[in-house]
């Protein structure tokens, strides 16, 4: 009697245990970390589409502002408390995480990666082993966003030469409109580095990147200094109180229609639309001294989504990553966030996105990021730290260029 009873009991317990594990296995929650606090609503929408197709997997999004993201992520990973999927910075900033062994290579597990171009994958590759560690999501270009209504009201056409650009700024200023909303205070110095990326190619041309990579040109090159000087020359047209204005404030000035232009990257498209659906704007490449059909613009791979090695939900997380690498995601991304998706083939339903895809035709890698953000001190760290002072006239452009050169010379080896 006892035997049967105890056997029944253990059987019952066994069934319960099995059911419990089965239930918990199907209740999959994948945690995803991102720094794009601006895109929260859109991303929740996109991943809701994923959960609609895969009901047993929910994607929990957690956002940390950009200035703190990198060190919060690395501290969390160090403590074994990281997410399942993390948004990863590209190129040099990816390497510490790869070297620390925190990420799983995705070459085998996400077959959709085969459909991506090498340029798109360039930012999510491990330097040491050449494996792909993240699914890239966008290859943005950078240019001049402009308020079409303000331009129309003041009779300004899209400038095709630098002189026309300056003339447009003068006209706007005379009409009492802020010509260029710009600011990089309070940890948003990267926004001014973007300015350098916007103006740069128009001065040093599309081939400059290759020259720098092969060691035939350095930052102290007069062409680069000339680009810096142009950024400084435009200072009268920047936001008032420029030194205290940060990136978020500058974007607000453009979004609220107070500023006519904004130097930015493709990611602003969706963000602008979300914050002010009535804003009428478009984008043009920064013009050089002579009119060109396709002025050169900076482009790069913005980042990727990677799989954390310590994750306890790898199977589910890999499914999410496959979704991110899919054409469906690319289309949702294009429609909801308005940046050029990393995976080509999405249709541009938005005219601004279409302009940006057109600009990609003459793209050159964003110099300071793609070329020189690999080891400390990075070119970016020097530029971001000193650029406000340069624009305000406290540091000469030559000195900034020299400082950048000195910094990267400690580790840069030309690829000949």
């Amino acid at each position: 009697m006892l035997n049967v009873r105890s056997r029944l009991k253990s059987a019952a317990i066994g069934v319960l245990a099995l059911t419990a594990t089965a239930l918990s296995a199907s209740a999959g929650e994948v945690t995803l970390w991102s720094w794009r606090t601006e895109d929260q609503a859109a991303m929740e929408k996109i991943f809701a589409a994923f959960t609609a197709k895969n009901p047993d997997i929910t994607v929990k999004l957690q956002f940390t502002p950009d200035a703190d993201y990198q060190n919060r992520l690395s501290t969390a990973l160090r403590g074994g408390k990281g997410p399942d999927i993390a948004q990863l910075k590209a190129y040099g900033e990816l390497q510490p995480l790869v070297d620390g062994g925190y990420l799983d290579a995705l070459d085998g597990s996400v077959p959709e990666l085969k459909d991506f171009t090498p340029a798109a994958l360039g930012g999510s590759v491990g330097l040491a082993d050449g494996k792909v560690y993240g699914v890239p999501y966008s290859t943005p270009v950078m240019g001049v966003f402009y308020n079409t209504e303000i331009f129309g009201k003041n009779g300004i056409a899209v400038p095709k030469t630098y002189d026309e650009f300056v003339a447009a700024c003068e006209k706007l200023k005379a009409a009492g409109v802020l010509p260029i909303a710009a600011g990089g205070a309070n940890g948003s110095g990267w926004a001014l580095e973007i300015n350098a990326g916007v103006v740069g190619p128009s001065v040093y041309g599309a081939g400059f990147y290759d020259e720098m990579m092969s060691g035939n040109a350095k930052f102290t090159d007069p062409r680069f200094v000339a680009a810096l000087e142009k950024i400084k020359a435009l200072q009268p047209y920047y936001s008032e109180g420029f030194a205290g204005v940060d990136y978020t404030t500058a974007t607000q000035q453009f979004i609220s229609g107070k500023g006519a232009m904004f130097f930015g990257g493709a990611w602003e498209n969706g963000s602008f639309k979300a914050q002010n659906p009535n804003l009428k704007f478009s984008i043009f490449p920064f013009p050089g001294d002579k009119a060109e059909a396709q002025p050169a613009v900076s482009a790069f791979s913005d980042g990727s989504y990677g799989l954390i090695s310590d994750s306890e939900h790898k199977a589910d997380a890999t499914k999410v990553l496959s979704f991110i690498a899919s054409p469906e995601f690319a289309q949702l991304f294009a429609d909801n966030l308005g940046w050029p998706p990393a995976r080509s083939g999405a249709t541009a339903n938005d005219p601004v996105l279409k302009s940006m895809l057109d600009m990609q035709a003459n793209a050159t890698p964003y110099l300071t990021l793609v070329g020189f953000r690999w080891q400390t001190p990075t070119a970016s760290s020097v530029v971001q730290a000193e650029i406000i002072d340069m624009i305000e006239g406290k540091i000469a452009p030559e000195k900034l260029a020299a400082d950048v050169d000195a910094a990267v010379s400690t580790w840069f080896k030309p690829k000949s």
């Binding site: 606090t37 929260q40 957690q62 956002f63 940390t64 502002p65 200035a67 703190d68 919060r72 501290t75 969390a76 160090r78 403590g79 074994g80 408390k81 990281g82 940060d246 978020t248 404030t249 607000q252």
Partner: protein, 279 residues
């Protein structure tokens, strides 16, 4: 009033003006904080100092829904309460024999604790982080409670021992003669007699722990365990331009401290004076 009194009053005037000015410097920013909570962001831009035209509660509603303040408040309460209780209990237990017993080793041990009042624990964060990871105390409120208690114990032992030391011997002797156990003597007789000291330790510990954001910054990664100061920094980073909502979030997080201060201002004042400012 006599002429002497009048001239005395006049001489005192510049002093009052100075004091009044500083009162404004303290009060006006806080006034702006409170008042801006009830304005829309556009209204704040337009009129910084005036009273709100329509006392809108939208900012509070938005702040509350955008971030889970209820949960963050709960975490802060749990961690602060836990730290205060733990600190008080173990510190009282330690201070008692060190101040009342004749032991050869009380002085060095007390000095050992005392050194901790000024030890810069933040500089040990690297090793502390590894320790917490090994003990699996990252992302946990218990971990925070233990760390905070460890940091506050030196101050608590110092204060409690100082107050206990001067109590009359007869207090315990009588109880011992009756056969009372030591812990009973401590908690039923000694501590109630030094209530002001207990209050000082409790209040200062509570304030320090509630306001700290350094340790949550390096120990807490899961949103579910964040305390209020840490949550506020993330909140502001994300919603920086929505001034109305940011002010509302600041006001919400300030509430518990304000309430406590209104109730306990006198104890706090006297406590600071008595302890010479050791925080």
């Amino acid at each position: 009033m006599t002429n002497l009194e009048v001239s005395q009053r006049i001489r005192q005037l510049p002093g009052w003006i100075v004091l009044a000015l500083w009162t404004l410097v303290v009060a006006v920013p806080l006034y702006i904080l409170v008042v801006s909570c009830f304005k829309t962001t556009a209204e704040i831009y337009g009129d910084k100092f005036g009273l709100p035209t329509s006392w809108t509660l939208d900012n509070f509603a938005n702040a509350w829904t955008q971030a889970q303040f209820a949960r963050y408040m709960w975490n802060s309460f749990a961690v602060t309460g836990g730290a205060v209780v733990l600190t008080l209990v173990v510190s009282a237990m330690a201070a008692f024999p060190l101040s009342r017993y004749q032991l050869g080793w009380s002085s060095p041990v007390l000095a050992f604790f005392l050194a901790g009042v000024m030890l810069p624990i933040r500089l040990a964060s690297v090793e502390l982080f590894s320790l917490m990871k090994t003990l699996d105390l990252l992302d946990s409120r218990l971990g925070l409670i233990l760390v905070y208690s460890a940091i506050r114990i030196p101050f608590a032992v110092f204060i409690l021992a100082n107050f206990m030391r001067v109590l009359p011997r007869e207090l315990e002797e009588a109880a011992r003669l009756d056969g009372a156990k030591e812990w009973r003597i401590l908690f039923r007789i000694i501590l109630p007699t030094i209530k002001p000291a207990v209050a000082i330790v409790a209040i200062f510990t509570a304030i320090a722990v509630w306001n700290d954001f350094f340790f949550p910054l390096i120990f807490i990664f899961d949103d579910a365990y964040k305390t209020v100061p840490l949550a506020i920094t993330t909140f502001i980073g994300q919603f920086r331009t929505d001034w109305g909502m940011v002010f509302a979030a600041l006001a919400i997080s300030m509430m518990p401290v304000l309430v406590m201060y209104l109730l306990l201002a006198r104890q706090i004042r006297e406590g600071v004076g008595a302890t010479g400012g050791l925080k």
